[in-house]
């Protein structure tokens, strides 16, 4: 049996809920959106021990109590600065060559 991750009381966690099931979405939403549920994620402090996948009540930054499925313990951020963009490197090179003082400009060719 794989070990289930368990959060401790007071840990910063994230819970998930379905707000509206597919088929109960607002009228007039595009077809692809109507076919999927509207989901919600909220972060807060765990009110009791729980394993990932079970129901948990949290207290949010605004002091609200929210119950949902525990999906992450200590959720972090993964966004960054991505990869260098060759097209923009090319743009930068050309702009600098064209508009900087020619005498002191580095030779970027």
């Amino acid at each position: 049996m794989p070990e289930r991750k368990t959060c401790k009381i007071g840990q910063w966690v994230q819970v998930h809920r379905i707000v509206l099931e597919a088929g109960h979405r607002a009228q007039g939403v595009p077809e692809d959106t109507a076919q999927v549920p509207m989901q919600m994620w909220v972060k807060g402090f765990a009110q009791y021990e729980a394993t990932v996948g079970s129901q948990l009540t949290i207290v949010t930054a605004a002091g609200r109590r929210v119950t949902g499925e525990l999906v992450a313990i200590h959720p972090g951020y993964e966004h960054g600065f991505g990869q260098p963009v060759p097209e923009l490197l090319e743009v930068a090179r050309e702009l600098r060559q064209r508009y900087r003082n020619r005498k002191g400009a580095p030779d970027l060719d």
Partner: protein, 474 residues
């Protein structure tokens, strides 16, 4: 037990909004359709001086006006001899939350606190969330931001993820949702549950907050150049930026300054589509908001939208995603100023517009926004490629929203596409006829419609008649 179903909550919309905004919109109503816009702006919000005082107290506004000499050179270099206006930018990234939205939030949060609310709520995926969170932190209120972040697979665009992070960093609870207009339903439920103030983008508070941006531009340009600006380019999305800036300029005596709106062209992408959601690199300042909000402002979370851009726009131009990324790079490389891409929408348009203006004319770009992880060309373009969008160097004419981002090779390739304001006005009138089921209109109603789109009453009468509406003689 309160009915929490979608229909049940939406049927309580008016009472929830009345309680959470505290404005009795009925007071300004004039029959079934018209309302007294100026009276609403004067009586429901705060005066320009009061707004200035509120903002000064929380370090909002009074941002620097920077002259972009190298980008001016770029415009002149690609313009006929004697053309190429001086380009200035209002560095709104210097606001506490990193964008001009701090101006709107400062007034809403001040008003909420003054009226005894314990917290504020805003439904937004944009910089406004961070602005409300920042002001709530500063003024000591709780804050909930309801944000559209993910597609149905839980994938989020880096810029939106970053904005959510910033809200959390500033102490807000962030309710993250998948794509869909039912975000509003969730916001209503939360307003009901918490009794918080609805810091809507579209109340008179939100618009009055931006008027100082217009008046500051007027004052700073006058001081630097001894004359008013000839034109101001405004990134146009929900209409508040255009409306507030224009009103501020007019109040500061710049009645003849041309107001030019600019949006990123995302034609063809559906804003509520689960599939299209992550195929756009811009989450604001685009036509998905700009066009529907201009042609029907009253589609928001309040009964009467205080943002009414057709009252103020002299011209509306579109620019591609690739052109905005190009100018974001140019701003960094040539001016040494690194700012977030979405805020550079008006900058991209400005370089093109400056070419049409004489060298001694003055063109102001009225905003910048903060940049950082996620909110930067490299993560956004990396994500675009991962989402199946082709990124290439090429003529902006080859740009296809959701499919191809064509980054210009040189400034000569930058151009703007005109959005016909006459057509926008016609579209507004069609929407009015449909929304209010108009068979006939009174003279006063025709006058209201005319002022709401800045047309002659005679032109309104002609179009309404064509639409089969019975109109009185003038």
């Amino acid at each position: 037990m309160t009915d929490r179903s979608y229909e049940g909550v939406m049927s309580r919309k008016n009472e929830i909004i009345l309680k959470s905004v505290g404005i009795d919109y009925e007071k300004f109503s004039q029959g079934r359709m018209a309302f007294d816009y100026e009276a609403m702006m004067e009586n429901a919000a705060y005066s320009l001086d009061e707004v200035g005082e509120i903002q000064r107290a929380v370090g909002v506004g009074n941002t620097p006006l920077l002259e972009l000499k190298n980008l001016t050179q770029m415009a002149r270099d690609t313009a006929p001899r004697g053309y190429g206006a001086r380009i200035f930018v209002k560095d709104e990234a210097a606001n506490p939350s990193g964008s001009f939205k701090a101006r709107r939030a400062a007034v809403s949060v001040y008003h909420a606190k003054k009226n005894g609310f314990t917290g504020v709520l805003a439904a937004t995926s944009g910089n406004y969330g961070a602005a409300v969170a920042s002001q709530a932190a500063m003024q000591g209120l709780n804050c909930i931001i309801v944000q559209e972040v993910y597609d149905s697979k839980g994938v989020g665009q880096p810029e939106i993820v970053e904005k959510g992070r910033k809200c959390e960093a500033l102490g807000a609870e962030v309710v993250q949702l998948t794509v869909g207009p039912e975000l509003f339903y969730t916001a209503l439920l939360l307003l009901e549950e918490t009794g918080y103030f609805n810091a809507s983008l579209y109340t008179p508070f939100g618009i009055a907050g931006i008027e100082t941006l217009g008046s500051e531009i007027a004052g700073q340009v006058q001081q630097r150049c001894g004359r008013p600006p000839d034109a101001v380019v405004v990134t146009h999305a929900g209409g508040g930026n255009v409306t507030g800036t224009a009103r501020g300029l007019i109040k500061a005596g710049c009645a003849s300054t041309r107001i030019i709106g600019a949006s990123v062209d995302l034609t063809g992408l559906h804003m509520a589509s689960d599939r299209d959601f992550n195929r756009k690199s811009f989450t604001t300042g685009h036509t998905g908001f700009g066009v529907p909000f201009a042609t029907w402002p009253d589609r928001t979370d309040v009964p009467r939208n205080a943002a009414r851009p057709l009252r103020y726009l002299d011209r509306y131009v579109l620019i591609t995603q690739g052109e905005v990324f190009y100018m974001t790079e140019a701003l960094a490389q040539l001016e040494g100023i690194e700012r977030g891409p979405a805020g550079n929408t008006s900058l991209a348009a400005a370089v093109v517009i400056a070419r049409e203006m004489k060298e001694d004319e003055i063109l102001v770009v009225q905003e910048t926004e903060y940049t950082g992880a996620g909110k930067h060309p490299s993560p956004q373009l990396t994500f675009a490629v991962q989402s199946g969008v082709e990124v290439k160097l090429g003529d902006p004419a080859e740009d296809v929203p959701g499919k191809v981002i064509a980054i210009p090779r040189c400034p000569e390739q930058l151009r703007v596409r005109e959005f016909d304001l006459k057509e926008a006005g016609c579209s507004y009138l069609r929407n009015a006829v449909r929304h209010f089921r108009l068979d006939d209109v009174s003279r006063a109603e025709m006058a209201f419609l005319a002022s709401d789109i800045r047309w002659d009453v005679g032109d309104v009468r002609r179009v309404l008649t064509e639409l089969g509406v019975s109109c009185p003689n003038l």
